[in-house]
């Protein structure tokens, strides 16, 4: 299979031009920043909710924006044009994800500054964020492909926001051992554990298991995305 950076870049440039005129996306990107600014004013620092802005950035900027962009391509029948062009599945997937990924990284960086979160062990922190990014963008792509309209992504995506964005918050409200066990395997929980471990001075070996579980989530989500994407290629 040929891979053309030029075609990937063409899709990215198109999305960038479109984003500048898309008030829904711009407004949505501001939500995690507002939340981070609020935590920063509360002086939360590296407290209990300190990682919430980063998780929210991943869910809202990564998953929701990606879902909205993919769903709009479907709703307006523009995805069909891309699928019928020489661009292959990987090029379309990478091109459509590039802008969401960059915007998510920028929102995360801004959130870290606004919430005054101290980044522990930058290299391992970046690796964990990038793994999370791939997972959430894959989830966003799946949501976009499953939704018929941009509005529908909000409905289908709400459980994703609750489970993956705020799942850790519900731990204190739950008593069911099984559910608590399930929550500990969620990707956002892995990210929280990795960042907590790094803040406590753990090195790679101390967070290796969490990285591995996160990697399994990444692989599964990418495989699921590709399968759904290929099925949607034909009516």
């Amino acid at each position: 299979m040929q891979f053309s950076l030029k075609r990937v870049n063409a899709i990215f440039i198109k999305d960038w031009k479109d984003l500048q005129r898309n008030s829904y996306v711009i407004f949505t990107l501001a939500i995690p920043l507002l939340f981070a600014a609020l935590l920063g004013r509360m002086g939360e620092g590296n407290g209990v909710f300190s990682t919430l802005p980063i998780n929210l950035s991943l869910v809202i900027a990564g998953a929701f924006i990606q879902a909205a962009m993919v769903a709009e391509e479907k709703e307006k029948n523009t995805l069909r044009g891309l699928l019928l062009s020489p661009a292959n599945t990987v090029e379309i997937f990478v091109g459509k994800s590039a802008l969401s990924a960059i915007m998510t990284v920028l929102v995360i960086i801004e959130s870290i500054f606004l919430s005054e979160f101290k980044v522990p062990s930058p290299l391992l922190f970046i690796i964990s964020v990038l793994l999370g990014l791939v997972f959430y963008i894959a989830v966003g792509t799946i949501l976009g492909l499953l939704s018929r309209t941009v509005m529908e992504t909000s409905i289908i995506g709400m459980p994703v926001l609750v489970v993956f964005g705020m799942g850790s918050m519900f731990k204190t409200m739950l008593e069911n051992e099984f559910l608590l066990k399930v929550i500990t395997y969620l990707p956002n929980e892995q990210l929280d554990m990795i960042w907590a471990g790094l803040a406590n001075g753990e090195n790679l070996s101390g967070i290796f298991e969490n990285i591995l579980i996160l990697l399994v989530w990444v692989v599964l989500s990418v495989i699921a995305t590709i399968i759904i994407y290929k099925r949607r290629r034909i009516d």
Binding site: S4, K6, R80
Partner: protein, 298 residues
């Protein structure tokens, strides 16, 4: 005379053909229990313009969707450029095909130019081509306008421009002029004829008999998913015998006479009296033949 010249041009074009661009054998498509296509067989030669005609739901769009690998056939075989349509996703094939479907979407917030610029990059076409295409679809003065500010007809011309941007060898057009006014329709027809003379094979669906007559070397009548006739427009019309002649007489009177001895005598009498203003042979239209064959209107 005009018609004869047209026929000669078409004959000349057909004689230059070398190989089939599209081959369809025993094609069938079911949607649940509903039959959309059955036993469809045809071939399209290089350089031809083929028209698929039929009412809504007759299977025209389904045929295009199968030929462009957007739908899987239930049975039968469909080949484009000698390859099964499933292989069309290969970029080398996709670069040779242009597609305008009934639901080809545009990026509404972007300008006409930006919409076409994306496809220039996807197809590896120089951006200079955009102005050429916009000239041919009569939109050059609007190229900086956002698509969301365009009328339906203008959007249709943008999608047509996008389909021909890379000068495809084979162009699929699903109702290409359905939303256009007569002036723009004429403009688009001229552009399509020019593309065709440059070697592009065109496969189009239409409800418009005149469009089929103007553009197509051969037309297929599709009814309930089956091809009931596939021939040149001239041969299709010849299926229905031309039996009458209309005379417009002084005083704005119209008289229709049969093409027989009595009719000839009547024409002679009106001529002798100096009453005849015009004489018309009542040629059947493609629509007349379609109605006669299927009992349905287009």
């Amino acid at each position: 005379m005009h018609l004869n010249l047209n026929q000669e041009v078409r004959k000349g074009k057909r004689s230059k053909c070398n190989g089939n661009v599209i081959e369809v054998k025993e094609l069938a498509k079911l949607f649940g229990n509903k039959t959309a296509l059955k036993n469809v067989n045809f071939e399209v030669q290089k350089g031809e313009t083929i028209g698929f005609l039929g009412p809504s739901g007759s299977g025209k769009t389904t045929t295009i969707k199968i030929l462009t690998a957007q739908l899987q056939a239930t049975a039968g075989e469909a080949k484009v450029f000698g390859q099964p349509v499933q292989k069309l996703k290969d970029p080398s094939y996709m670069k040779r095909i242009g597609i305008l479907t009934d639901n080809s979407g545009l990026y509404e917030r972007l300008s006409i130019y930006d919409n076409l610029a994306l496809y220039c990059d996807l197809y590896g076409v120089e951006k200079e081509r955009i102005d050429e295409v916009l000239e041919s679809v009569n939109l050059i003065r609007d190229k900086k306008k956002a698509v969301q500010k365009l009328s339906k007809g203008m959007k249709q011309r943008v999608t047509l421009g996008r389909a021909i941007l890379h000068k495809p060898d084979l162009l699929f057009l699903d109702e290409p002029t359905s939303a256009l006014d007569p002036v723009n329709m004429k403009h688009i027809h001229a552009g399509l004829k020019q593309l065709n003379t440059q070697g592009t094979t065109i496969f189009l669906t239409t409800h418009d008999m005149q469009e089929a007559e103007d553009l197509c070397d051969r037309v297929a009548f599709l009814n309930n998913g089956e091809i009931v006739m596939f021939d040149t427009p001239q041969n299709v019309r010849a299926q229905q015998e031309n039996t009458s002649i209309s005379l417009l007489l002084k005083g704005n009177r119209t008289v229709t006479v049969d093409k027989d001895e009595d009719g000839a005598k009547e024409i002679y009498q009106h001529m002798k009296d100096g009453q005849i203003l015009t004489i018309h042979s009542n040629e059947p239209t493609l629509g007349d033949v379609f109605v006669e064959l299927t009992g349905r209107n287009l």
